[in-house]
Point group: D2
Chain length 356, copies 4
């Protein structure tokens, strides 16, 4: 079932954007863990607001209510269920969309799949809002990974055509990753960040939107983590990352750029660093044959520009089968990428906690 993921740390996400609630059930958290509520609330806050001024005008305090699995703040071995109430919903905004699908949204496909019975309010179960329970589960996964020495962090690598400095794939360290989490706009290079914010503001001004790329790194993943064939590091991270709306691509290490290199250029020689075997370069992005090499796991995820834009667009009325010009009102991010940074971290954490 497609709302569940994982065998060891299994999550089941439920809800729709304008249902009473969204939430997640997590099975497989060991008993006796004191939940780090600060870590969780920071993760939720970064997703809710992007630490940035460009997020949607919709206000969600997004405080999860943990209704099971925890006794006096400590996990008891039973499944943890966290519920987030949907409060600030304006379903009226969406009435006009019932029969006119928004370009590049799931509306049309969902209409066909569910015979028109899908919840169209706020995008229903296809809304970016579904990443709130994902971020919650990701925060719990990050806490468990932290105890095993794994650190995950991400930055905005690109917005529109503005490109941030990349991670150093060999030497990126935990301090760098953690520092990013405190930033209002998390780029490695603040000047780039300023340019990106200007680009977003300009797109918003034009009633338009932007896409971008997020780069994520996971440090401390034990050598050999991952399984052959369908259960490799890349398979599982990709499977989780594509659960985030608007993601259209993923690449590990040198990725697509590596495809135009020769083997002698792209291969990563082994070397000794003290007693530890490492590679001199990290074009493999920390994964070889689906197994962790001990080097940083580094990947990049491509986000399409937000499909909800204020500009008029061409669509078709599904009932009358007539062309329609659509103007979308409602509150929408001109760019989801800043808020998606913790979601990418969460997806990575959920994949890795199941493999380690």
């Amino acid at each position: 079932m497609s709302n569940s993921y994982g065998e060891k740390f299994k999550i089941t996400i439920f809800g729709q954007s304008h249902a009473d609630a969204i939430g997640v059930v997590i099975e497989g958290i060991p008993a006796g863990i004191t939940l780090d509520m600060l870590l969780i609330s920071k993760m939720m806050a970064r997703r809710a607001t992007g630490n940035a001024p460009f997020a949607t005008a919709r206000k969600e305090d997004d405080l999860p209510e943990i209704v099971s699995g925890v006794v006096d703040g400590v996990t008891c071995g039973a499944p943890l269920c966290a519920i987030i109430r949907n409060k600030d919903t304006r379903s009226g905004d969406y009435d006009a969309l019932r029969s006119v699908p928004r370009p590049s949204h799931a509306d049309f496909a969902a209409y066909c799949k569910y015979g028109g019975k899908n919840d169209v309010r706020g995008g229903g179960s296809f809304s970016g809002r579904m990443t709130a329970p994902l971020a919650f589960a990701g925060a719990v996964a990050m806490q468990l990974l932290r105890e095993k020495g794994v650190t995950i962090g991400a930055h905005i690598a690109q917005i529109g055509t503005v490109v941030d400095d990349p991670f150093d794939p060999v030497n990126v360290d935990a301090a760098t990753l953690n520092a990013l989490k405190g930033k209002r706009f998390c780029t490695l290079n603040d000047n780039t960040g300023a340019e990106m914010q200007a680009a977003i503001a300009a797109a918003k001004q034009d009633g338009d939107s932007l896409g971008g790329v997020i780069e994520c790194a996971a440090l401390g993943v034990p050598v050999g983590t991952g399984d052959p064939m369908f259960g490799g590091i890349e398979n599982e991270i990709a499977r989780c990352v594509f659960a985030i709306p608007a993601v259209k691509g993923i690449e590990f290490g040198s990725g697509f750029a590596g495809s135009s290199l020769r083997g002698s250029e792209n291969n990563d020689p082994f070397c000794l660093k003290g007693d530890v075997i490492r590679t001199e370069t990290n074009n493999h992005g920390g994964s070889l044959g689906g197994l962790a090499s001990g080097m940083p796991v580094v990947f990049r995820a491509a986000f399409k520009p937000t499909p909800s834009i204020a500009k008029p667009q061409r669509s078709v009325d599904l009932l009358t089968k007539k062309p329609v010009t659509l103007e979308i009102s409602g509150r929408h991010d001109p760019c989801v990428v800043p808020r998606a940074v913790p979601c990418i971290e969460a997806a990575c954490a959920i994949a890795l906690v199941n493999l380690i």
Copy 2:
């Protein structure tokens, strides 16, 4: 378990490059299907030789023996097991590699994961040879999909820096896809194909290797195919495609390039084509919210250059913990991309047959 995939059409792949056999068990094939052995043998042949002169010197007739699930050529509802004997193995070639991991191969990670007990002969279970049962299962999946009106085909989109013409993502048709399958070197543009072959020959001459990109399209996927969140078209295709060794990236539709567009540029307006609702462009690559839109599903997979090269490389002896210069003998593709084309089709077919 990572060697299994699928819930409706479930495959379990077994074997190692130099074990007695490799093979696959397929559960979920309906009873009463007359297996199209020609389709299967063509698929296997394309993988074995790439229809091309650049494949590995290792000779494998790769004739699968179907030991169960079929009575007089017709499926009986029981799991189908196909076995491919490994014949032309020269395990001696690999003895020297036991403690010296080849750069950018799975050797080192596998050594750590399995405590040195992994099968190093020919790459063991991490060998590209494991794609033979994948291609077999993919051929069966393609037969089932064909009966539902789905056609899958792929071409070599890039080798090194040579780039083929792309698919027309809106109008690509089944005739184009099927014609590619008969080509000795399957590019859309034969001139490009000739350049690519020259590039491979040059790399081989230099004791080096090349990577590339394969573009794949699936036509006729019913609108609404796919499931939300973790079970979308992108999630499942990505999960299968990353099972192919050397794949380091995947993107759907406009993918990474789309990340630098604005919403008004990247959005695909809906339109009517007769009575059918389609999109004018196909930057979404046939998937919206993880669900098929009815447009061609189009994706690109990035392959790293073959890590096995004749040039000397730096590595470390795992036992002595000393730096070593490694020279790899044995028979290796200077470029796996041509032979990987049917593997990409197979991975796509296996993912889709589970969703439809």
Copy 3:
């Protein structure tokens, strides 16, 4: 993960007896179903009170709150999450039990499994209370099955040594099964029911408890339903039925008694009833080779006597490792069997809805 079950109609149960809430997420309900809330509330009420005067003194209105998956009473294709708040909890009752395991309860094993961090209040996640979300999910499954012509019903076949009339395994009809659901004490024979109630009252009087047997029948299961080996009718029903606390055995058709018959006595000859192929007898309980035969699926589940009794019992203090005499206070059923009848129906429905 053990709190989840099913591939087509997948349930994930969460909660503990004295947590804020218990509940269930159901994936796989088709979109467009108007939930039959009356069916659901009757099922919940039968479980909560057993339609009988002997249920626990604990009052639970057990009204499920459906927080997702339903729009205006109609399913929308997204996972349905139903939450039941725990209100009338007296956790203080259980403090003494923290280190002294109750005989024949899960306490000791759970203490060891979870390092003493398990939720001991009210039995935590091992409480019979966890059957409330099971009953909810079972009611939804029964609604879906009803639309496919399947009727499920059960009766109390035995309490202590008092034995009810059995179902006629060949001719049991839907009217009989449905009539049972309206009974305050659901036996086929009311005289037997009166005797059983007297036996329960007597046990209660003695500070003791009783076990029993429930017999369940499913009519209209299409011939061929079920899968070979691990996915047969018996495998799946057994797997679900053993999720109900206190079940210690299950048998289909002639079951254990059939083991002492000869083949010629136990075999069920095929015959024609009009144009339909049936069997003259039904010692096979509706399942052959794990597949439905078209005859009523009939099985019996054995319940141990409620382990919580007022009589003093011998136990051991886990901390002091000293023998202890334990007297259990709190509110407990002298016999869970009457209230378990809808739970058995629910387990059967959940198994079958996944197979059909």
Copy 4:
């Protein structure tokens, strides 16, 4: 998929009685295990012949060929595939059965499920022969369990109306269990065994068959093994045991008999044995709330009498829809119970190795 079982030690069984081969793929065996081929071959031999004179006249040497997953006798971490060729098949015997289902066999249900395309030869994939790969996998599981201190053994508890002595559920020891495996007819009481053999001979003489009960015990299962709700010891053992053809019931501990006891009689008081906490009696059969209590896991499985009997029986021709008198030729066990003893051990081992 119903031919697969397990998450940690996952088996996928394939084949039909008269296909080229039957076999099993096992995923999850740790690398570095030297397979105990003697244990495996003894297990296979006990199943093939029952160590007894009453087995089917069909001769199968049942030597498994291990085609992958093992290098020089040692597991390498890749999936192990074992193939058993079907040699002594006389498919002609079954031609007459194509349209006339044998009473109490899977024939009719399979005919309906697979549209008449199922493999009828020798019962196809519903044959008792499918327990050969189960026994193989069970032997591997028993080797892994042995290293964790777990011993599993079973005896024939009943044939027809002849009843063997039961295990002492509190004190049964490994020596007793292992001694049973060497017996030609494995009862605890040899006199009972002789009576059972006489009963089988008499039934055979009459062209009839017998059923029976097997009792199985698992010692050394660590306290807390198993998971709540759907993943308990009982759920998983039941799920595996019902994969064995002819099993119609299962009970743990006092089982059905315990249903007529009072709580004060059936409860098992905790006590100290040295420093270890145990129970004075073992009516719970080693499982409380689905979790192992540390006491022997004891269960009983009911087998129906072999449905294939020489006596004429009533059936219906599926094509002509006319009543038919059926006389079954071919080679059949008058009682499968003796040969099923290692299968029950195997099913128990496969369930437990996934839980521990």
